[in-house]
């Protein structure tokens, strides 16, 4: 189903859409406030973008340097070409350590690779430990936002889920009570887990260490209790030197939620004696995206979600309408590179207003890339008949001033005198939810000529 069709489903509950829209706009405002307090914010964005451009142009060297330094510190490094290889590597590590129970902190990469169902099919229990991720896991849904995974759920829905799965008492969706119940539930899981899987926010080539950022402390609770830590990262997570973390950590949380920094920014350089630490480096289409000149800067992304919070389409269509691991504007320029046909409607889910590019902490020209994907998609993927024929007709009319004038006059006449049921008929999608503006007698040209005489 196309994004537009999915969005229509989301829009059936108008009150919920309005709430979703406002909640995300509120986060966007917090981002603005946080950004405005930082002296040199724009310089930080420029630096971050330039560092990432340098990373992409030396990515192979940095990855090798990172691997060497990580290995020196006793970390085992693995390489996976695609999702399947990634899942197999993770499963093999778990098998070797006789792991039955895994706790996982947020990692969009493992979502992308569908790691959970893979491990579950092999009889391993996987518990997502970020509260939002746990909520959507219990609901058997994918996250709808990369930073706020359960933003599409009301507190009453969470209440019902927890009653069913955690045995809580009805609380009318009291967030404090529900969070505390989740804390107890997850504590038990942390204490019993054999292995912890985390994502990676940044991997430092110079030191071979990784940084993981959370607000809940769930990554650390998992890692420091379990005997095995597996960290999964895309190849683009590399940064050259540790001091560059200063740039990225100043940008990340402010862009994401308006916090000055995440509660926990944990620096893992060496496993504790007697424990194992593994890093799985995953390509899964990224090196191919690197080859596309117009789209390679999409690999700068640090997964803050600012482009989603600001996007008028995302806010009113919800993350699930994108049917992609990463929704929103950034997802709409990443996903077509993975599967052009499946994701062909996503670059059209935009007004091209450019707000995403304005808030992006690493200055990805998201709206320009959306436009460029459209050019490729219309050439390679068959477009709906209405869209094709209307644009073709528009092309003919706009190229002929007499025809344009005639059709303008006749449509003004018709719009004025035809009944609303015909004006707002099925073919006029604008008329689905609103009326057309009042029709004037003249067009601009007529009005201008009269005015002169």
């Amino acid at each position: 189903m196309s994004h537009a069709k999915e969005a229509e489903l989301f829009n059936k509950d108008e009150a919920k859409v309005n709430w979703h829209d406002q909640a995300l706009w509120f986060v966007r405002n917090k981002r603005d406030k946080a950004a405005h307090t930082v002296k040199g914010w724009e310089d930080l964005r420029n630096l971050a973008s330039a560092i990432k451009a340098n990373v992409l142009s030396n990515l192979d060297d940095y990855l090798v340097q990172f691997e060497e330094n990580a290995q020196k510190n006793g970390i085992q490094v693995h390489w996976a070409g695609d999702a399947e290889a990634h899942n197999k590597i993770v499963h093999d590590i778990l098998l070797q350590n006789n792991v039955k129970k895994v706790v996982k902190s947020k990692s969009m990469l493992t979502e992308e690779c569908h790691l959970n169902p893979y491990l579950e099919a092999h009889g391993i229990e996987v518990i997502d430990t970020d509260l939002g991720e746990r909520i959507v896991q219990l609901a058997k849904e994918p996250p709808s936002h990369i930073v706020l995974p359960a933003i599409h759920k009301t507190k009453e829905e969470v209440d019902a889920l927890f009653q069913k799965h955690l045995g809580t008492v009805p609380s009318h969706g009291d967030p404090r009570y529900l969070t505390n119940e989740a804390r107890k539930h997850l504590r038990d899981k942390f204490l019993k887990a054999d292995a912890a899987i985390t994502g990676v926010n940044f991997a430092v080539a110079e030191t071979g260490g990784i940084v993981v950022c959370t607000n809940e402390g769930n990554a650390d609770m998992g890692v420091h209790l379990a005997k095995v830590h597996i960290a999964c990262m895309g190849i683009e997570k590399i940064i050259p030197e540790e001091k560059h973390l200063g740039v990225f950590l100043r940008l990340l949380a402010r862009s994401a939620t308006g916090q000055p920094i995440t509660t926990y920014s944990s620096h893992f350089n060496k496993p504790v004696q007697g424990k194992e630490m593994h890093i799985v480096i995953v390509d899964n289409g990224r090196s191919e995206q690197l080859s596309r000149e117009a789209f390679r800067s999409s690999l700068h992304c640090i997964r803050c979600g600012a482009c989603m919070n600001t996007c008028p389409i995302y806010r009113r269509s919800g993350g699930h309408s994108y049917k992609a691991t990463i929704p929103g504007p950034i997802g709409s320029i990443l996903s077509p590179g993975m599967d052009l046909k499946k994701h062909s409607s996503l670059p059209f889910a935009s007004t091209l207003c450019g707000s995403c590019s304005d808030v992006c902490p690493v200055k990805i020209n998201i709206h320009e890339q959306l436009y460029q994907w459209r050019q490729i998609i219309t050439k390679n993927v068959k477009q709906p008949v209405v869209k094709r024929s209307i644009l073709k007709m528009a092309g003919i009319v706009l190229a002929n001033s007499k025809l344009y004038g005639f059709l303008g006059r006749s449509s003004r006449f018709m719009l004025k005198h035809l009944p609303k049921s015909i004006v707002n008929s099925k073919i006029n999608t604008w008329g689905k939810a609103r009326d057309l503006p009042k029709v004037e007698n003249d067009n601009f040209e007529d009005w201008y000529k009269k005015r002169k005489s």
């Binding site: 451009a53 359960a150 505390n180 030191t207 809940e216 540790e242 001091k243 740039v247 916090q259 620096h267």
Partner: protein, 193 residues
């Protein structure tokens, strides 16, 4: 696709070399009251601050703030409140019911209210996360302006495990309502002397 084929694909597809930019610190310099800004930012992230007249008041002030704490681990020489001692042999699961952990912070960061602590400061990695409440001890003279200075301060450390900690654990995953006390510490108080 193995290591070699991933690296080959990158080599083939990467753009021409782009230089690595230098970080010009003068762009980010501000003459501000570091202690004052640190206070404000720590409060904004849900942390609490107690300003001590003298470091000798520490234990009395901790007791005042955490009167019900029974199982206490102290990794600081300045506090004598410990009821449980730990070593690097301590099994982290055994810390499950620790009420309070007391840890010396190496330094604070004014721009975000974070403190830096590393493995040597808390002996068992799980401690600052599994303890119910957290007390950090920080000298007024050890507050830096921003994260660039912070990374300069830790550039020569022995790299094992370390964390920038900014306030208590928190979540807003249920309808964007901020709840303090998610999976990590329920409260965090910085005692400044």
């Amino acid at each position: 696709m193995s290591r070699a084929s991933i690296l080959n694909a990158i080599k083939k597809n990467k753009p021409e070399s782009v230089p690595l930019p230098q970080i010009d610190l003068s762009l980010f310099h501000e003459d501000i009251d570091l202690v004052d800004i640190f206070y404000k930012n720590l409060e904004s992230v849900g942390g609490r601050i107690v300003s001590l007249n003298t470091i000798e008041d520490l234990d009395a002030e901790i007791k005042k703030r955490y009167p019900n704490a029974k199982s206490i681990v102290s990794c600081s020489n300045t506090s004598q409140l410990a009821t449980i001692s730990i070593s690097n042999e301590t099994e982290p699961h055994s810390l499950e019911s620790i009420d309070l952990a007391i840890i010396d912070a190496q330094f604070g960061v004014a721009e975000n209210g974070a403190v830096w602590i590393s493995e040597n400061d808390f002996i068992v990695r799980a401690l600052p996360f599994i303890a119910n409440d957290l007390v950090l001890i920080l000298s007024k003279n050890d507050i830096c302006l921003h994260m660039h200075e912070a990374y300069n301060l830790i550039s020569k450390r022995e790299r094992t495990f370390g964390v920038f900690l900014s306030g208590p654990s928190k979540t807003a995953d249920i309808e964007q309502c901020l709840v303090i006390g998610a999976q990590g510490a329920m409260s965090l108080t910085v005692f400044i002397f």
